[in-house]
């Protein structure tokens, strides 16, 4: 009895993702027809059964306003940073110094970690080199960093991105965690983290 219920609950939690696949199918066809809906649903089920992956844990929370501001901010970031990288490439005197920095994120959810990683690396100027999933830490390669102070500013901007994402669709626990840590440490530097992580 309980296993049936658990299975149903698991299935229900995956419904938004299945719906996403169906919408994607219809986006590719470019129009809505009932046939598209049916074939999309069948394909979505087929794909999720045949290419089985561990289930994504959705947070079950979505704030439309914060999601919208996050996406708008992401777009403007992409536009601004693309122009910067383009200018840098075309600048006559090129003296490039880069940095690989560690950004300790506050979230403990894989979904938010992934979103933050994608959101930071889609913005030109930073590439995710490595991810420490256990500690929710991103290692970013950042273009054109002149001083340590600049890397600190950049680290804070990534943490602000994380905050915007958590505000938009993070779980309640993540939201509380981020708010608490935000008020506790205004400057979560990299130095305090080093000691606690030695064993990993």
């Amino acid at each position: 009895m309980t296993t049936v219920r658990v299975r149903l609950a698991n299935f229900a939690s995956q419904l938004p993702l299945l719906a996403g696949l169906v919408v994607l199918w219809m986006l590719l066809w470019g129009k809505f027809t009932w046939l598209n809906l049916v074939t999309g649903a069948v394909l979505a089920l087929l794909v999720s059964v045949v290419f089985y992956l561990p289930a994504v844990k959705l947070s079950g929370r979505l704030n439309p306003w914060f999601t919208l501001t996050f996406l708008m901010r992401l777009l403007s970031d992409i536009a601004r940073a693309s122009t910067e990288v383009a200018l840098l490439a075309l600048w006559p005197r090129l003296r490039l110094t880069n940095a690989i920095i560690q950004v300790p994120l506050r979230t403990r959810s894989d979904l938010i970690l992934t979103w933050t990683a994608v959101a930071t690396s889609i913005v030109p100027g930073s590439i995710v080199v490595d991810i420490d999933r256990v500690n929710s830490t991103l290692y970013l390669h950042v273009l054109n960093m002149k001083s340590i102070a600049e890397t600190d500013t950049f680290r804070e901007s990534v943490m602000k991105t994380e905050r915007r994402i958590v505000n938009a669709f993070g779980s309640k626990e993540d939201l509380e965690r981020v708010r608490r840590l935000q008020s506790a440490t205004k400057h979560p530097g990299r130095h305090e983290k080093h000691e606690s992580e030695g064993s990993v």
């Binding site: 994607l24 219809m26 986006l27 590719l28 470019g30 129009k31 992409i78 536009a79 940073a81 693309s82 122009t83 990288v85 383009a86 200018l87 840098l88 490439a89 075309l90 090129l94 490039l96 110094t97 880069n98 940095a99 690989i100 920095i101 560690q102 990683a117 994608v118 690396s121 889609i122 913005v123 030109p124 100027g125 590439i127 995710v128 080199v129 490595d130 290692y139 390669h141 273009l143 960093m145 002149k146 001083s147 340590i148 890397t151 990299r190 990993v200």
Partner: protein, 113 residues
């Protein structure tokens, strides 16, 4: 939308896209190491793609075009960072990078896995 406005918009968007692609190409040659080149190769190109697809949508404003444009940009936005990450990680672990132009490397000495 009047024809003039549309022409100006089209010209501007295509120009932006072309400049972005040019800059990506130039950056690919001029930047000093693999990781920096990755920035040039993967990033301004997304913005260029956005501009050119937006241009297509402006000139051919139907629901089918708009949805297709959304799908194209979405997929580029999701896949380009992955490609950059994988190449970047491979370059880092195989030490194909110039550490003399890194002002700080907080990943070094952390057990390369």
């Amino acid at each position: 939308m009047s024809d003039l406005v549309r022409d100006i918009l089209t010209g501007a968007l295509v120009l932006v896209s072309a400049v972005m692609c040019l800059a990506a190409g130039v950056g690919l040659i001029r930047f000093p190491d693999v990781l920096s080149r990755l920035h040039a190769a993967t990033k301004p190109q997304i913005f260029g793609l956005m501009a050119v697809t937006l241009d297509v949508a402006v000139n051919n404003l139907t629901l089918a075009t708009v949805t297709l444009v959304v799908a194209i940009v979405l997929f580029q936005a999701l896949t380009a960072p992955m490609a950059a990450h994988l190449v970047g990680r491979a370059a880092y672990t195989s030490e194909h990078l110039r550490s003399d132009i890194l002002i700080i490397d907080e990943l070094s000495g952390r057990g390369r896995h």
